[in-house]
Amino acid sequence: MPSHNTLEESTRSTAHDDDSRPMQLTLNVWRQAGPTEPGRFVTYQHQNVSEHMSFLEMLDVLNEDLILRGDEPIAYDHDCREGICGMCGMMINGIAHGPQRATATCQLHMRHFKDGDTITIEPWRARAFPIVKDLVVRRGSLDRIVEAGGYISVNTGAAPEANNIPVPKPNADRSFEAAQCIQCGACVAACPNASAMLFLAAKAGHLGLLPQGQPERYRRTVDMVAEHDKQGFGACTNMGECEAVCPKEISIDFIARLNRDLIRAKLTNPSGY
């Protein structure tokens, strides 16, 4: 019977673990029972935090305690826990996704905090991201922007041979940089105006930099910008907060590019509509 690869054994303290005493933290967490209920901060003392835990695992452990105590656990969104699905996200001490740059909440680890720290945790706040419960918000407004035109119109089966469309490597690389967006909404959360311009610009930039995306480039820009405004996001004031918290470090240069495309679309109407 296999006996060496049990999970139990893996939790024994070893040389690797010896250097870490459990940390104690004070957590101020936004609790809100439902979309229309009033919310408030609740303070929790967390006695048993290992520096190797991820931030979400720290909350998992707290939630297990809350459940056994008969309280409702803190609701928060998460899924892949490897920084790519974009489901997780919260304001941690006033910074979207927390203090470590280029890192989504799920990949933030507790070694970036100190014993005795107080951590304030809030949901993303924006009119376009209404709160569902505790730290969970609705982000369908971002989907609406893509539905308004964030695609290339090609039916399945209608594609030409892939290598018929050469793409200069610099363009492909730049397009990829924009396409890394994980649609987490941190840009909106961090923006002083709750603008989704970085998200929108990344989407438009990804497609607009590729030859396949050219036929619809200007129409796409106009339609997506209109939908962005309709969804109740604010205007970009070029602060750069979004870029600083983006887990994929997408540059606000893409916003300049979007602006240029919109101006060109409106002034010269290159799509002819």
């Binding site: 019977m1 296999p2 006996s3 060496h4 690869n5 049990t6 999970l7 139990e8 054994e9 893996s10 040389a15 690797h16 673990d17 290992s50 190797h52 991820s54 998992d60 297990e64 809350l66 459940i67 056994l68 409702e72 656990p73 609701a75 899924d79 826990r81 490897e82 920084g83 790519i84 489901m87 990949q107 680890h109 569902v132 419960k133 982000r139 369908g140 989907d143 893509v146 539905e147 308004a148 035109g149 695609y151 290339i152 090609v154 039916n155 399945t156 594609a159 892939a162 290598n163 050469p166 793409v167 200069p168 490597k169 492909a172 990829f176 396409a179 649609q183 990804h206 590729l210 396949q212």
Partner: protein, 664 residues
Amino acid sequence: MAIDSTTVAPPRIAPTMPRTRPFTEAPPDTLDSKIPEGPIDRKWELRQFEYKLVNPANKRRFKIIVVGSGLAGGAAAAALAELGFNVDCFCYQDSPRRAHSIAAQGGINAAKNYRNDGDSVFRLFYDTVKGGDFRAREANVYRLAELSTNIIDQCVAQGVPFAREYGGLLDTRSFGGAQVSRTFYARGQTGQQLLVGVYQSMCRQIGHGRIRMNPRTEMLDVVVADGRARGIVTRDMLTGEIRSHVGDVVVMATGGYSNVFYLSTNAKGCNVTATWRAHKRGAFFGNPCYTQIHPTCIPVSGDYQSKLTLMSESLRNDGRVWVPKTRGDKRSPAEIPESERDYFLERRYPSYGNLAPRDIASRAAKAVCDEELGVGPGGLGVYLDFSDAMRRLGVASIRERYGNLFDMYQRITGENPYEVPMRIYPAVHYTMGGLWVDYNLESTIPGLFVGGEANFSDHGANRLGASALMQGLADGYFVLPASVTDYLGRTKLDAVDENHPAFMDVEREAEHRVRRLLEIDGRRTVDSFHRELGKLMWDYCGMARNRAGLEHALSQIPAIREEFWRNVKVPGSAGDLNQSAEQANRVADYLEFAELMVTDALHREESCGGHFREESQSEDGEALRDDERFAYVAAWQYNGDGVPILHKEPLTFDNVHLATRSYK
């Protein structure tokens, strides 16, 4: 019904006691895989010609339910909507773009032969059948290889930013031990980029009103009315509302069941519920014991661990895997001289070395850890060392190739892999088993089609690297749109609505079950049960399995399940967002499914691919397949409170010569 079967605890059996077979066998020839006639390279073409079509004007009268929005489900939803059908698509995430296909890193295979290095559709087909250890259907795999080239065309046209060469043409690399460079990739984010392509195609159809997207909606059950799948019952995760959705056909692409192990590389929400409920409604489950363990994951760091993180196996192209030669060697890796290191993959598999296939590399790592040579916490890890490669190619070159992976490793472990070797350990990553489907991807419930990881079809007993994305998109973009259209074209469907007794019954059962979970109010959390089950499965039905261990697991699962339904604590109410209730509902299904998985592993007394039976190995520890007895697909039929019924679909190999897989 669901509840009754779980409250009866089967008799406990001591692990060593011989027991009667925990299943019965159906008479042969009950399964029709509907493989087309003709030579292998014309089967799909002929089948497509046989398919019935639906008049374009009539298409909008049909409603297709698609569950899951990953590569297979999302692509099927988009492609079917493009054809003119009305599609209702469901996912549990808050946006279809978050389905777990997004996490795939490495790449997607296609037989484009852009490198002129001898690749072809036939070679991809051959490699996949062989890689699957001769437990996949030849006809399906050939179709997959054929469609692989169309997938790349489609994705490029959608704007997927694949890696390119300076000439502007697509770049490819060799991946997962393949001898040809047929893997297309987008840095370490191929899954995300392909899924964004699918998502954009879906968004286009959502914008046009042809797909109605239902995010944060979890499928609780499938509804079979008058012998056909006619809809599903879902729970709105924001409001708790349980309701029926009626359609003309149901397509499920709900992913795999790796989370039965609790710790896996899957997303936290991935679950077996959809496929398990379909199974209980009559869909056979194919080869549930085939699970894939990925060798290059970040080891567990503590008992709070919530999931495991995979690092692309491309790391093995330049990293060398080793452990110290002496037990209990606590020196830091740099202090261990070359002569005292065991590069065990290079030693055991001289021709493939560190690039040996996933199952083989994983088992080799387990073997050295079983000998207590492992490194890191609990001795559950082996080194993946880049120092030779950095000396040979320079740090800059390694940074360029793997920089993002090194960063991720450092983010999670706090160790700098440029200075100390990475520690890796295998983790459950993918499940080859799934709902049994015929060549048309239709399950044994008429009108229920299954695509992607949720079906059992194309990978046999082991999936090759960069083949999952290929299969998901082949099913979604090309196979399902054709076969679902055919089903609608040839089937006379009666009018059914939400008031049909079948819908009323299933809805009532689903409501009852959620209420029941909330009422138990016991003393243990959902996660504690899930961890307990996961540990049991990992210990006894994980990388290596044996009769005694499997029988032990089989005796323990009912006990855990019984305690779950007596002692679980699910806080909150049924009428709003309740993540504990969602998870409880999923774990309840894992607790039933696990038993079938173990039963399958117990019955398959051979080692093949991801399924390694310790009783069936050569003297030097290599897997021994038994083609005489086990060259078949095990398709399990649910049998209420009785033992499951085994159906065998024999596998014949007319185009690939049955051979022992050797990577020595």
